[in-house]
Symmetry: C2
Subunit: 318 residues, 2 copies
């Protein structure tokens, strides 16, 4: 780890030194001033950094293993959205106290997620502080020039989503009322699926891609702005966890936390996407791309324009 302290060092040895997967690219892992990785010829390195703060991004009293699981999954989702193959991560952990049982649980959850996601623990930093803050830097490799960007959507493309949205958003009342409950929709909140295989399969197919972390309507706007187009979404096509008649339907469109992939693809890719639907059964076409208009995102109901709901996705500093 980058700054070792005796207490910290013992802590790392005990909880984070073993059980994590290896990466063929790792040249030096935990324990020196920095980690070292190689990158095979013809590859680029995709990197993302994500912070989760107790009481803001997850309930402070949630089970430690689930806090770790969710944090690494949310971070790794950015790699899936780039079409990258997961490689490794660095962990920066700020903790109020080094409580043995909590740390053992946290490390176990992190190990389980890292094994499933095939992310090697490359290094980290543990610090003491008044509240729990988890920052994860994740990285993966992608063939040069093949990463899925937000900026490639073109008028005429179709808009797709990887699977049903809204489950994690609708789980929030249950999660907040009983952070330890882990049934039904709470599973979608704590263990969002990371769409690594789909992201890789979308290389050369999708024209733009991102993961939905702040809500479909809000995140669609990011692709629209980066691509200088508009995204027109058809309400009747969007797969949501509750029906349109349900009062919580709008929450599904505005809620993040599902980490589904939102992507665009040219019409010419439709045959390949239909084939991919055999492997990824949730894949759903939900709209199309138009030339940039007054609004980056339009919502329609069988072709008739719907007013965009005022309620936005999750926003910091607003």
């Amino acid at each position: 780890m980058s700054a070792e302290h005796p207490g910290e060092f013992a802590l790392i040895q005990e909880f984070f030194a073993s059980g994590f997967p290896d990466s063929a690219d790792t040249r030096l892992g935990v324990g020196d001033d920095a980690s070292l990785i190689a990158l095979p010829a013809g590859y680029e390195l995709a990197q993302s950094i994500d912070t989760q703060v107790a009481g803001i991004h997850f309930p402070a009293t949630a089970p430690a293993a689930l806090i770790a699981q969710r944090a690494l999954r949310c971070a790794a989702s950015d790699l899936a959205a780039m079409g990258a193959e997961p490689q490794g991560f660095h962990l920066a952990l700020t903790l109020p106290a080094a409580e043995h049982g909590w740390l053992a649980e946290f490390a176990a959850g992190l190990r389980d997620a890292a094994q499933e996601l095939e992310l090697a623990l490359l290094g980290g930093d543990t610090t003491s502080g008044p509240l729990l803050v988890i920052t994860l830097q994740v990285q993966g490799r992608v063939p040069a020039g093949q990463a899925l960007l937000r900026s490639g959507a073109r008028a005429g493309d179709e808009v797709w989503v990887s699977d049903t949205i809204g489950g994690a958003a609708l789980a929030l009342p249950q999660v907040l009322a009983d952070p330890a409950s882990f049934t039904g929709l709470a599973r979608r909140y704590y263990l969002p699926q990371v769409h690594t295989p789909l992201g890789i399969a979308l290389r050369g197919v999708a024209s733009a891609c991102m993961d939905i972390s702040d809500g479909l309507l809000q995140d669609a706007g990011h692709i629209a702005r980066r691509s200088q187009v508009s995204l027109q979404l058809a309400a009747e096509l969007i797969p949501t966890v509750v029906a349109r008649s349900d009062s919580r339907w709008l929450q599904c469109l505005n809620g993040g936390d599902d980490y589904q992939l939102l992507f665009t693809a040219p019409v010419s890719a439709q045959r390949r996407l239909n084939a991919l639907q055999q492997q990824f059964s949730g894949l759903t076409r939900i709209g199309h791309v138009t030339a940039a208009g007054d609004s980056p995102v339009l919502l329609t109901d069988h072709g008739a324009l719907l007013p965009l709901p005022a309620q936005g996705g999750y926003q910091h500093f607003h």
Copy 2:
């Protein structure tokens, strides 16, 4: 940035979108799900992550520009200690509120440090939280197999330090009493020198290297343990900011925050090190490496063993 929110997006555009240096390795910077970098053939990527918490690692009321300067310098020091050429960084910033003046100052300090250190801003994440937490992931490139590790010290090697230690530790009372004061030793605390040119010059010369972040005596133990040797340090040779007769002398040996490089080199490298002393005038030989003994670090006074001071370096969770 990895998870964009409208408020966050505007904030990033305003404060972090321009003025940072470029890196030839950058393929995609701020604004997508992840950044993308290339790595030239024959190079490895060195990466480190460092967290600084307000009130723990720096005074919460310190000038924002100095908080940023110090945070990036402390993080980049790990790259110097590896002999890496700086390339870029990711910023994870947790903030109690997006106070315009504070952010403008913070961004200005970060830009100044990034320009001097030649670190491109590759991406980041800004989140709201009850207190200021800064996590910086820094990265640099180093020719494959040439990184300076902690594990290469061998019995018979000599021990060196890049320059005088203790200035930042002795500045602490002044910094805590008046965080905005920026005279004398406080400069060493807020603007530690990052020894990038020395680190690069030490490739093929040093057998082991690290930066002193937690105090000379403590950090020497890390090289000793990783290399399975003992480091014998000569009190009369160690360059400290106050003389041995000063009551604060021990604080110099136990205080971190100077970010000097501590390294070992074989005797056969002495001619090259003498030549390097022309360029790096602070370079000082302070002891030698022995076979591993009962204690990883020994302190002597003209050859006579001194008891190791009980006061340790800065320790988290102790």
